[in-house]
Chain length 443, copies 2
């Protein structure tokens, strides 16, 4: 099917490792797993969306319901945030707050397939949800998690870019753009600055009704990116002085930046970047984007922000939160295109070969021994040519072939062939596990 990323086994090993790296980092920070169904009631999913988003929704209907001529009442989730909102509202009494959940599942969008856009893809999200309030310093934990994740993924240097929507709205207010919906329109244009450049953005800002002089000042201001924590804090002070209405937001952002340092995130891993606006009005405070320094063309690989109220459509409780999301399928695809990730050797470490039927029980016993020791092992219950079996192991990236021929059996030994290094040893059967462990640990 077009618009999906389906992997060959050797790529799937890489994908799984990336996914488990993300999961491990999320769990390391004390986030708890949540899984929700892919299918939700359409009325639940569509509450807060409309227009453009609604066109991308996949509706779901069983054969029976179609035959009855009913309108579809089910749909596939298009993100993990709406299901989280529904879940928290539904189970509020059974949850402890702050509710810190991670969720790694596929989401679905009815897009026309095009290069790098997927109809079905993984998102890896964390959110911290407070009841009534959630301290600002929780916003500083997100960069700490992002830093852990992207360090562990080992896909090169990265920068976490931060900004603050409250700061931006204050700044716009001081520049004469006071109406919230006008501010939103301006921020949507600012968000495209990096992609479109200064000139096109200036034109667009005039088009949405900003005075040319204010446009110049705005673009000059938002072109700033901090070079250090001190530089960022000084800039925030300067903005407070220069744009009176921005003082509250600037103070918030300073608190968050100082807390990020306390979380132990190194200064070169993050920056205050006033051009980051995130198109969504959903975000009300801190916003995040993460870029790979050597591959800026990939765009943001981890984004998110602070929001005032998660689940206003589903509950009267006020549930502020902060979260981030990694679009893993797209990230994997882009990294593969860039040649940064690809096929991995098999998880299976050993193929126990079989050449003659008489060796069947001996070979299976060897396989059992290896599995008992925790070494992933494939056995061959039926004999075939050794060359064919070695070629198979090599093709899968299975490192070791164990040979239990007639000679080995008579001596109670096995021959271990290291397909990666091309050498082999005959070792006593009782010594096989120790021997393999040594070879594996040396790597």
């Amino acid at each position: 099917m077009p618009g999906v990323l389906e992997l060959l086994p050797a790529e799937q090993v890489t994908f799984r490792r990336m996914l488990e790296t993300i999961r491990a980092a999320y769990e390391r920070f004390g986030f708890v797993e949540l899984e929700t169904p892919a299918i939700e009631l359409a009325e639940v999913l569509l509450t807060k969306t409309g227009g453009e988003t609604e066109r991308e929704v996949y509706f779901v209907q069983s054969t029976g319901a179609r035959e009855q001529g009913l309108e579809p009442d089910l749909a596939l989730r298009f993100d993990l945030t709406v299901p989280l909102a529904r879940y928290v509202a539904q189970h509020e009494q059974q949850l402890a707050f702050p509710f810190r959940r991670y969720q790694i599942q596929r989401v679905y969008r009815g897009e026309s397939p095009q290069r790098g856009r997927f109809r079905e893809f993984y998102q890896c999200d964390i959110d911290v949800i407070g009841r009534d309030d959630l301290d600002l310093r929780y916003d500083a934990e997100m960069p700490a998690v992002i830093h852990r994740v992207f360090t562990d993924l080992e896909i090169g240097p990265f920068t976490i870019r931060l900004n603050n929507r409250r700061l931006m709205r204050g700044l716009l207010s001081s520049l004469g753009v006071g109406d919230p919906s006008h501010q939103s329109a301006v921020l949507r244009e600012v968000d495209k600055l990096e992609k479109r450049g200064l000139d096109a953005t200036a034109t667009a800002l005039v088009d949405v009704g900003m005075a040319p002089a204010a446009v110049d000042r705005l673009l000059e201001t938002v072109s700033y990116r901090s070079s250090s924590l001190d530089d960022a804090l000084e800039t925030l002070d300067r903005l407070s002085a220069e744009f009176g209405d921005a003082a509250g937001g600037a103070a918030d952002q300073a608190t968050v930046l100082e807390a990020i340092a306390a979380f132990g995130v190194p200064e070169d891993a993050y920056a205050l970047d006033l051009s980051i606006a995130r198109g969504l009005d959903y975000y009300t405070g801190t916003v995040y984007e993460t870029v790979l320094d050597d591959h800026p063309g990939i765009g943001s690989v981890c984004s998110g922000g602070r929001y005032d109220d998660l689940a206003g459509y589903y509950t009267s409780s006020k549930l502020p939160g902060v979260g981030i999301s990694i679009g893993l399928t797209r990230l994997f695809y882009q990294l593969r295109e860039a040649g940064i990730v690809g096929a991995s050797p098999a998880v299976t470490q050993v193929l126990v070969t079989l050449m003659d039927p008489a060796g069947f029980a001996y070979a299976l016993e060897v396989g059992r021994r290896l599995r008992q020791a925790g070494i992933p092992t494939e056995t061959r219950p039926a004999p075939s040519r050794l060359g064919k079996q070695l070629k198979y192991a090599d093709r899968l990236g299975i490192r070791f072939a164990v040979i239990c021929g007639e000679d080995e059996r008579s001596r109670d030994t096995v021959t271990v062939r290291d397909l990666r290094h091309g050498n082999q040893d005959e070792v006593p059967r009782s010594d096989l596990v120790r021997h393999l462990r040594t070879l594996i640990d040396q790597e």
Copy 2:
């Protein structure tokens, strides 16, 4: 949404552990992971199905396609076998055979929701696919994997019941039921024997056109369950002698049973059970069911079998295979109903509490230290009452609370409270990781 199983965080921990136990066992035997999209082209999914199954299919359509009045051309997979067939046919040239894949994903069925039947549920499958042929002894590997999985799941004693469709068809042929479709009809009734009992099954068999005398002999024969490997092999010999047409199938089954023993599966874990027929005509040789000895009412928790050709609809290559499937969502639900599984303590081991703002940096440093050591740790970036924080930790099943009060900070120590055992110790900050590791390892 009705018809789905949505878990609270403490149950999700249990579910995840079960899923990862299954994955680990599959990988231990050298199966490689495959993931396919949930959405497939409807024409691909529906090739080999019809009637009853088709009614259970969920069709998928984007808003745009609906507005154009088109018929839906997409659907959600209802099992993992059809997508496997499509995948192997599509990628045949890039795969090495035997292709040994595991797949753990959700599948979708448009069922009317009822107790214990789900619209969206996990299946955990393995299959070995040969090209042109696949040795009979691969059928013996499945019980070895099942034995590993259900031993590791620690949900009580279980029995793997085996039978052979070729044997059964031979037996029916000798009883005068020679037409394959008549045989299929008979086997569908035999498959319900355990549920309906002898009398109702006898009536049903007469209804599908079997002679009453043959029905009696059939029911007498299929009521057999072996008490040991030798007992099973003797019975197979006897069946060969008594029912001439069953000799080939009986020999096959004897080969498989002997190979199971060579795989090291203990005799009390499996039995030849001639009442196991599996309704599906898809299966052509060995068939498997697995029951929990203390909970027979749950029915089969792991089923599968041998098939002649996986992907006849998608490729001209002959791809025989053998596989099993665990319906994990249903299994979890049933085990929870039976009180065998339930909530688990959090994966998070430590909550680093915060009572006064001045302790912020100290507490975060402690959290960082613990995470660096691989201990999942939640930190509090904002102060609150200690009692409230301990209650939160207790509710989540986080075992340790670390307290860094003013006194501790002045002495460069922390207080570790073990919420499970109710005791606490003050230890030097530099000794915290070692101290916790000792407590965790003692458990």
